[in-house]
């Protein structure tokens, strides 16, 4: 048995991950619905997680996977706080479109 990446190629994982990451960026830019934007950010983080695991396999090293745990914790924490903010905005202005957040400018 050898490294599974010999069959797939680490480049492919990189391309997949980069594409996924870019889709995440695209989502953040494209959508105005805050929830979807959050989701896009999650996609970005997951793209990175995927790459971590791929690299972990590439290096035959556990640290990459361990880091994914931290990354998940971060994602969870962010989502919690983000949604809390979102809810409080929704309570105040009844909308979650980020286009409505234009009071602060200039």
């Amino acid at each position: 048995m050898n490294n599974i990446l010999t069959q797939i190629g680490i480049e492919n994982y990189i391309f997949l991950s980069v594409t996924l990451f870019c889709i995440g960026i695209f989502g953040v830019l494209y959508r105005r619905n805050a929830i979807i934007v959050f989701m896009s950010i999650e996609i970005m983080l997951n793209a990175v997680n995927l790459l971590f695991v791929a690299f972990s396999t590439y290096h035959q090293d556990a640290q990459g996977q361990v880091f994914v745990f931290f990354s998940m914790a971060v994602a969870a924490a962010e989502v919690a706080v983000g949604l809390a903010i979102l809810v409080s905005i929704f309570r105040n202005i009844g909308s979650i479109s980020i286009d409505n957040l234009k009071n602060l400018k200039g």
Partner: protein
């Protein structure tokens, strides 16, 4: 030597002390006392001068007095010191002498003026500066006096400061003088850098000992010095201030603008004769300007109606004659004329002052006439002075003027013709003045007529003294036997041979006398026989109008210099200043505008922000990894 130093200090500082007393305590002293103190202080100087004069007449040794270091320049040092030699003592004699007389005169003349003490203060200050000018042992100490007398002239012309016209005249005098002063300074600079000294004595030896003189720069220096003299001595092109200066009280005109200050230019040229002697071109220029000034001023004088203006133009004209003599290298002749001129012109001015005093300030000759009876002493003294200035034989002016004409004749016929014409005109307008003022009937108001009276003794006494001097002053330099020439000889490098009184000379004398008499005769014909009175201002036409308006020189100067400067000033103030200012502000405005536009970019949209973020990231990454 210490004695000399102390005496010299007394000589210089006595008037200054008078000035200080009058400035600080004048008001409390009372008018008479302040006048007396003022006069006394000058008399003291006069007495000291006489002492020195007697001393030097015996020893023939100039007295050098160094007081202290004054200005330090890299290649030379300027001491503050005095030089009492033949020239300066001669000058001092008539400065302090006539000064004393005029002070005396002023006690009475200014008695009605509430600011009499300051008048005396200024007069004393003037004498102080004049003495400084004369006794300074180097160019810069002379320059102190030079500027100082200008200042006093300014103060005294503008003595009646409530009248802005008088103030304008004062300002004009000061500024035109300053134009000359700049010339003088430039001359000083050049001399200083050429010879590393400004001391007269050292300068003289340095020039005498110099092997290869740079005549070009020396000429420039001489020319610059002459410009200075033009300013002070009212020569073309800087003469226009002098007639305006008549705005001051009459004693001032007599003292400053006839007898003493205006001769400073002649003094300076004479003092530096060793320089001018080496620069023939400049000498020619001086001669020509002198002659032209004499003629131009005389022509203007022909038609003036203000009694003092006539005298003022006459002064300019006479000064022109003196410069003519200087330009021709006949320094002693010029000095001679300075002295005689001081006598008779002071007398004339004081006389006219007496007339004006009698008429309570009237200066227009058209409103005078027939004053002979009311003011006999004034009349007779003025008549004597007029005869002197017109060159009637045996009066002092005859000798001095004649010598100038003779010198001119020997050098250049054209100059002689000009000078002769000028002196004929002089005779004419002086007697025009006399006839209009003293003969025929009184043309003024009844009230004035009622108050006509001879002036008090304090006024007439100086007149009489000056008239006597004007008569006999000629003895100091009789043709053929000149005490003055002998006295002044040590000063000059080139000694001109004495003119022998040959036929030519007697011919010239005769022509001059006849010319003078013709002038008087014309005036007599016009103003006594025909009893003409000059026209009102509006009725003057033709060339007379040009003359009456002084060739419009003032207007031309105004247009050329004053208005240009003022226009430039306005232009600078309104456009250039705001322009530069708005350029600076403009930078601020541009950044502010950028800020304003930038605020639009910061529009609050997260989308835009992220977009910028991503673009920035792309730019950086692609620059770093793709562009290499």
């Amino acid at each position: 030597m210490a004695m000399d130093t102390n005496l010299a200090l007394v000589l210089v500082l006595a008037p200054f002390l008078g000035f200080l007393i009058n400035v600080f305590f004048g008001k409390n002293l009372g008018k008479s006392l302040s006048g007396i103190i003022g006069t006394l202080s000058v008399v003291v100087s006069f007495v000291v001068t006489i002492c020195f004069f007697l001393q030097i007449n015996q020893t023939k040794q100039p007295i050098q007095i160094d007081l202290f270091d004054w200005i330090q320049i890299s290649n030379f040092k300027v001491n503050f010191g005095f030089l009492l030699d033949q020239l300066s003592l001669l000058w001092l004699l008539f400065v302090t002498g006539i000064g004393s007389l005029i002070h005396l005169y002023s006690i009475s003349y200014m008695h009605d003026d509430e600011k009499m003490h300051s008048f005396f203060a200024y007069l004393n200050l003037f004498i102080f500066f004049m003495i400084t000018l004369v006794v300074g042992n180097n160019l810069l100490v002379m320059f102190i006096g030079w500027e100082g007398v200008g200042l006093c002239s300014y103060l005294l012309i503008g003595f009646w400061y409530k009248n802005q016209d008088f103030n304008d005249a004062a300002k004009k005098a000061f500024i035109m003088n300053r134009v000359g002063d700049l010339g003088l300074l430039i001359g000083i600079f050049i001399l200083g850098s050429m010879f590393s000294t400004l001391d007269f004595a050292t300068l003289k030896t340095a020039i005498a000992g110099a092997t290869n003189l740079d005549t070009f720069w020396l000429s420039i220096a001489a020319l610059a010095l002459f410009i200075g003299a033009c300013g002070k001595s009212a020569q073309i092109p800087l003469y226009t201030w002098l007639p305006d200066a008549m705005a001051g009280p009459t004693p001032v005109s007599a003292l400053i603008h006839a007898a003493t200050m205006v001769t400073a230019g002649i003094f300076m040229v004479t003092r530096l004769n060793f320089i001018f002697d080496l620069t023939p071109y400049v000498q020619n220029i001086i001669a020509i300007i002198g002659a032209v000034t004499a003629l131009v001023a005389a022509t203007i004088g022909l038609l003036q109606n203000d009694i003092k203006k006539v005298l003022a133009y006459s002064t300019v004209s006479q000064l022109g004659l003196m410069f003519l003599a200087l330009g021709l290298g006949a320094y002693e002749v010029a000095v001679f004329h300075v002295i005689t001129h001081a006598f008779f012109k002071a007398c004339l001015f004081l006389g006219s002052g007496s007339v004006i005093h009698g008429l309570h300030g009237e200066q227009d000759m058209r409103k005078m006439g027939g004053l002979k009876k009311a003011m006999p002493i004034t009349f007779w003294t003025m008549l004597i002075a007029s005869l002197a200035i017109s060159g009637v034989p045996l009066f002092s002016g005859f000798f001095s003027k004649d010598e100038i004409l003779m010198v001119a004749f020997h050098h250049n016929i054209a100059l002689w013709v000009i000078a002769s014409v000028a002196s004929i005109m002089t005779a004419f307008y002086m007697f025009r003045l006399m006839f209009l003022t003293f003969f025929n009937d009184f043309r003024g108001t009844e009230e004035q007529k009622h108050h006509l009276h001879e002036s008090p003794a304090l006024i007439t006494f100086p007149l009489i003294v000056l008239a006597i001097l004007a008569t006999v002053g000629g003895v100091i330099s009789l043709p053929g036997n000149s005490w003055l020439n002998g006295y002044l000889t040590p000063l000059f490098t080139k000694v001109e041979a004495e003119h022998h009184l040959g036929t030519t000379e007697y011919m010239l004398m005769a022509i001059a006398v006849v010319g003078g008499l013709i002038g008087i005769a014309i005036a007599y014909a016009k103003y006594i026989k025909q009893n003409l009175v000059p026209n009102e201002d509006a009725e003057i036409t033709g060339f007379s109008k040009v003359l009456y308006n002084k060739y419009y020189v003032d207007e031309i100067y105004d247009a050329l210099f004053v208005n240009t400067t003022n226009g430039l000033s306005k232009f600078f103030r309104d456009y250039v200043e705001t322009g530069i200012s708005s350029l600076v502000f403009g930078l601020g405005k541009v950044t502010n505008e950028l800020s304003f536009q930038g605020k639009k970019l910061q529009n609050g949209s997260v989308g835009l922000y992220l977009f910028a973020f991503v673009l920035g990231m792309c730019a950086i990454v692609s620059y770093l990894f793709l562009a290499q």
